[in-house]
Each structure stands twice: as C-alpha cells, then as structure tokens.
C-alpha cells in the first residue's frame, strides 16, 4: 500500500516537471525527420556540387574557372553586386527610417510595396523591365533616339540585354532585405536617443552617424549579407533581362545554366566548378551570419558579466556627504 502511494507521488512529480514537454519518442522522431530532410535536400546536393566540380581533377576545375567566359561571368556578378548592394543598403536605410521614425499617410502602403519583390515571381519582375525599357517598351525607343553626349562621345544607353538591366533587375529582387531587417530594430529603439542628441546640438547627420547607425549595426550588417547573397545568386529576373550574351551579359548563375546545357562531360564539370563558387558564397554567408549572431550574443554576454569597477558610493549614500 505504502509502495503504491510512493510511486504515485513520484509519477506526479515527474509529470509536473515535464508538463510542457512532449513524450521522448515524439521529440526524437521530429528531430530525426528534420535532420533527414536537411541531409537529403541540403547537405547531399551541396556535397555533390563539390564532388562533380572536382570530378575531372584539380586541373580541369581551375581551367573551367580560368575560361574567359567564366571569368567574365564572375566579374559581371561582382560588378552587379557591387552596385546593387550599396544602393539597396541606402534605400533600405531610408525606407526603414521613414517607416520606423515617422507617421505619415500611406505608411502601410509603403510597407506593402517594400515586400512586393518577395511576392512577385522573379521572371515577372524581369519582364516588367523588358516592357519598360525593351525595344518595343515604353522608354526603349526614346532611349535609342536620345543617346547621351558625354566627354565628346556619343553613348547609347542600352538597358535591356545589357548590364544596366541586370543591375536594375537585381536591385528589384533584393530590395526588401535591408529594409526588412532594419524596420523592427529601428522601431524597437524609438526616437528618444536621437532627440537627446538633437538637444545636445547634434546635426541630423551626426545623429545618424553616431547614434542611429551604431544602435542598428547588427541588423544592418545581417541585411547586407543576405542582400549580397541573393544579388549574386539571382537567376530568374536576371535571365529575362540579360539576353544571355556569352562573355558579356552572363552572370554566374546564367553561365552555369548555359554550361550545363552543353551536355558534354567537360561542360557539366565546368558548370559545377562555377556552381561551387556560388555554393562557397552561400557557405561563407552562412558562416558570417553565424559569426555575427555569436558575436552579438557574446557582446551582450560580456557586457552582462563584465567585472564592474567598485562604485565609490552607493546610490544615495553621497547625499549625506553633500549637505
């Protein structure tokens, strides 16, 4: 009798301790499913990319990358990212600032617009630019008839099937990243610190540089990293506007596609070689992101645990000494 009572108590104790947890086998099943999924759909293909890339040996790998067309694709991708990412960073900061710090009519419309690139298919995004700037588009004929006169030279500004179009399409697709990361951080920070800076005589620019930016630093860097990853990897929108002129308007993702269509073993290996660079970029991005999160957590932790210097007086003990 005593034994049963005892066991009952023990059970209830265990139940209350784990009242919010699932039974162990449910937990393990969920973990294994998630792990298996990652393994089959993420890790395996990634490993395969590198395996295929080095399938014909180191030399073939290096040759594939040294190929002038590959090199041109790599360069173009870097150029596009170098233009699109900084511009989107600036636009993103502006948009986030406007949304987080001001109240105005059409604010929710602006938030919706910022998210638009996420909800529009990249192909449609590309087509929008073709319709706007293509030969038969709204501005195409006008642009053709109005070449720029710069430094005594006549420059015809071509957008579609040229680099500007690729930059535009990339910017469209990657627009939301920075703004999306910044808005919640800025909203949480509020405007009091900026107001304090103003009362101390700081200009808007000084306030932005010394008060606003440092307080959203991590969110901003995170947004830029994500923006860059997408800018370099974008395929759909870019493929519509680029025209895939080999050696001229092919970015890395497009060039990988062209190589892969080559259907020879060497071409496939070359495709995987270039793809391995993009995969590497993804890994580096992931690494950066983890590093950032870790650093941020550590900075916080350090601030929490920092050995504090001895306080000369307690909070109010000094009062008695003053009078």
């Amino acid at each position: 009798m005593a034994g049963t009572v005892k066991r009952k108590n023990g059970d209830s104790h265990r139940q209350s301790r784990r009242g919010t947890e699932e039974k162990p086998f449910v937990k393990w099943i969920l973990i294994s499913v998630a792990l298996a999924f990652c393994l089959v759909f993420l890790l395996l293909p990634l490993v395969n990319v590198f395996a295929q890339a080095f399938g014909l040996g180191w030399k073939a790998y290096l040759n594939a990358l040294r190929d002038p067309n590959s090199w041109s694709a790599i360069r173009l991708t870097l150029i596009v990212a170098a233009i699109a990412v900084p511009l989107n960073t600036i636009f993103g900061i502006c948009a986030a600032w406007a949304i987080a710090k001001f109240n105005f009519r059409g604010k929710s419309l602006l938030i919706t617009l910022i998210d638009l690139p996420f909800s529009v298919s990249p192909v449609v995004a590309g087509l929008m630019f073709v319709v706007l700037f293509g030969m038969n588009g709204f501005f195409g004929p006008w642009l053709e008839n109005h070449p720029l006169h710069l430094f005594g030279k006549v420059i015809e500004l071509k957008i579609i099937y040229a680099v500007p179009g690729i930059v535009l399409a990339t910017m469209f697709v990657t627009f939301p990243f920075v703004a999306r990361e910044l808005i919640p951080v800025m909203q949480a920070t509020g405007t009091e610190q900026e107001q304090a800076a103003l009362t101390l005589g700081a200009s808007g620019w000084t306030t932005f540089w010394h008060v606003t930016l440092p307080s959203v630093k991590w969110g901003l860097i995170y947004g830029i990293i994500l923006c860059n990853a997408r800018a370099m990897g974008e395929f759909g929108a870019v493929s519509v506007v680029s025209g895939s002129i080999v050696g001229q308007t092919e970015t890395m993702p497009l060039w990988i596609q062209s190589l892969n269509n080559g259907n020879t073993q060497a071409a496939t290996a070359a495709a995987f070689a270039v793809a391995s660079l993009l995969a590497l970029l993804a890994l580096v991005t992931l690494g950066f992101k983890t590093l950032l999160e870790w650093k941020q957590a550590r900075e916080y932790q350090r601030a929490q645990e920092a050995p504090l210097p001895p306080i000369p007086q307690s909070d109010t003990a000094f009062l008695s000494k003053m009078s």
Partner: protein
C-alpha cells in the same frame, strides 16, 4: 527673465494639448509643471526645448524669441523621462557628446567630464555602458550629460518617475541641493503634487486640456488654491457643497459666513484637515462628532470624523496631540473649523426651500 511663454497653444490633430498658456520663469528658479496626465505639461516642456513647435503663441528664452530657432541652437539641457542615454556609448562618451558637438578641445572635454563625474559622484563609472548602471546612476548620468555643455536652462521630464520610491525621496533632496549649488534655471514636469510642493520654488498647475490653473509658490497654492481643481489636486482638502440661506452657507449642521451671497447660491467650500480643531470637551466647540477611524501615517495621524448629521470630516494631528486628547475610535468629540475657502460658486439660485441633499464620498479629496 529666463523663459517666457506668451499665449502658447498646441494642437495635435484635432486635440488641444496646451490651451493659451502664459507664464514666465525667473533666472535661477526651480519651477515645477504639475498636472494630471493629459494636462499638457510635458508638451509645454518640449515646446520650451524646441522638440515641439507651438501652434500659436511665442516662446522666449532670455528675451530672444525662439519660435524659429531649432532645438540644436537653443542651448538647453533636456533630461528625458527614461533618460535616453546613448546605449552604445560609455558613460564618459555620453557626457562628452554635447561637448564634442560644440567642438571643445580634447583636454577641456576630459576636464569637464571629470568635473561632472565628481559633481554627480559617479567617478569610476565612466567606462560602463548604460545597461550596467542602476536607475539612480542612469539618471545622474543623464543630468550630467545635459549639464555638461553649460545650458542656459535645464529641463527635466518626470525626473523621478523611473526610480523606485525609496530612492525617489533622496533624489528629490539631491535635486534641490544640486540646483542650489549650480543655480541653473530648472523646469521639471511632474504629476506628483507632493514632489512639486517639496522641490520647487514655484509651481505651475495644469488641468486636463492644457489649461493653466494657477502659478505660485508651494505655500501659496497649498493655502490659497485658486479654484476647485487646484484645491482637489494639491494636498488633502475637505470639500463641501453648501447652499446660502440668510447670509450663511450651510451643509448639514456646518455653517460658514457668506454675508454678501444671495439666498440659494450654491458654494463649494473647502478647508484643510489641519483647520479642524478637536476637543474631547463636548461643550467647547459648536459641532458634535464621533471619531470613526484613525489612520497611522508615521508621525502624523489622519482622523475621520462623522458629524451628527452624517457628514464625514477629515483631520490630522500628531501622535502626541492624539495621546494628550486621549482619543480613540468611537470617541465623541466637539469640533470647529478655523478657516476655509470658497472654491466655486453657482449663482443660478434654486428656491430656498429646496431640500439639501448631501452626497458624501466624492466631495472629499483623497490625495495622500
């Protein structure tokens, strides 16, 4: 004259936050803006700082019209309710910020910050970040930061709102001392009447809707409240609805002289608890009452009496007086009221025969 507001109004959308407010603050004064929430006191403070612009009216600082002068050029020190310290900067950098903006020399900045740290007794904390400080320390850093660039006026928004009650009392004394030592014109916003009475030289009292009610020294607004609102807001007051009959205002058996008032006039009459005199000699004073309840507030006691007519009255006395009189709950006493004020008047006379109806609780201000 350090600061002057002339007919200042502020509207947010359709809501009037500040309504035609005029007052001035003298050089070196410690002024409290007191009022309930929605009284527009913080808006007034922010308009002096330049963080809000008046919808109409003028703000002057040291004789100069400030309406078109931006916050940055007003040379004010502002302490925010939650301090708004720069969380990514150390205490040193926080205090040095305003000096750097004003392009002080590096060595001067160092000296000035050291001076502020010493003045505010926060030496040794200069390398800490705001989140590593206690509430009281944060507040002192915020005031040090505001005062470092030598502003012409120090503005504080609810300076003691964010610290716990025990520290608050001591910080009040500290603010008075600080003001005494530095003699910088200081305006602070508070909703706590006790705080305003204790700390300030003068008090500006606002009612909801941003209407200015009274300006005066603490003693003045306490002893001579300009109207019913001030009387109810500042301190504890017995407030009675009376009606005049034959030159006497009556509420129950209580009678107050009101010689020049016509019959039927309704008066609100108020008197402080200390104006009620109590005796255990039932024939000494005109009104008979029973002590219903004694509240212990430390040295002072609050007593609630009930008159024969049922009217409740509130009084205060020290423990010693209480002991001397030999009072206890349920004891019968006689009372008189030494002085009183007419707070509001309604002359729309009702027929003098109208029966007097007394509504007890809401007529006695409860502000302890």
């Amino acid at each position: 004259m350090s600061i002057e507001l002339k007919n200042v109004s502020k509207q947010f959308g359709g809501v009037k936050a500040v309504n035609d407010v005029s007052f001035s603050v003298n050089e070196g004064e410690l002024m409290a803006l007191l009022g309930p929430s929605g009284g527009g006191k913080t808006t007034v403070l922010r308009m002096i700082a330049g963080l809000e612009m008046p919808t109409s009216g003028d703000v002057f600082i040291r004789g100069q019209r400030m309406n078109d002068v931006s916050v940055r050029e007003r040379n004010i020190g502002f302490v925010f309710q939650n301090y708004a310290l720069f969380k990514n900067m150390t205490v040193f950098k926080n205090i040095a910020f305003g000096l750097k903006i004003k392009k002080w020399k590096r060595a001067d900045i160092k000296d000035r910050v050291a001076e502020m740290l010493k003045l505010f007794k926060i030496e040794g904390l200069e390398k800490r970040y705001p989140h590593q400080l206690s509430g009281g320390q944060r507040q002192r850093v915020a005031i040090a930061r505001a005062l470092a660039p030598k502003p012409s006026v120090l503005l504080l928004d609810e300076p003691f709102g964010a610290v716990d009650a025990k520290v608050r009392q001591e910080l009040r004394e500290w603010l008075v001392k600080l003001h005494h030592d530095l003699n910088v014109t200081t305006i602070f916003v508070t909703h706590d009447q006790e705080e305003a009475l204790e700390v300030s030289n003068r008090i500006v009292i606002f009612a909801p809707g941003g209407n200015l009610q009274q300006i005066g020294a603490p003693r003045e607004v306490y002893e001579q409240p300009a109207n019913l609102f001030v009387a109810q807001f500042i301190g504890v007051m017995n407030i009675l609805d009376t009606e005049v009959k034959d030159g006497v205002a009556r509420a129950g058996e209580l009678q107050f002289a009101a010689h020049d008032q016509p019959n039927g006039t309704k008066l609100k009459i108020g008197f402080r608890p200390y104006a009620v005199q109590v005796s255990t000699d039932l024939n000494l004073y005109p009104y008979k009452a029973v002590l219903r309840h004694t509240f212990f507030l430390g040295v002072m006691l609050r007593l609630e009496f009930q008159l024969s007519s049922g009217l409740p009255l509130r009084s205060r006395m020290t423990k010693e007086e209480y002991a001397q009189l030999g009072l206890e709950d349920g004891r019968e006493v006689s009372l008189q009221i030494r002085n009183y004020r007419i707070l509001a008047k309604e002359e729309v006379g009702l027929p003098p025969e109208t029966e007097f109806k007394y509504q007890p609780p809401p007529t006695i201000a409860e502000h302890i």
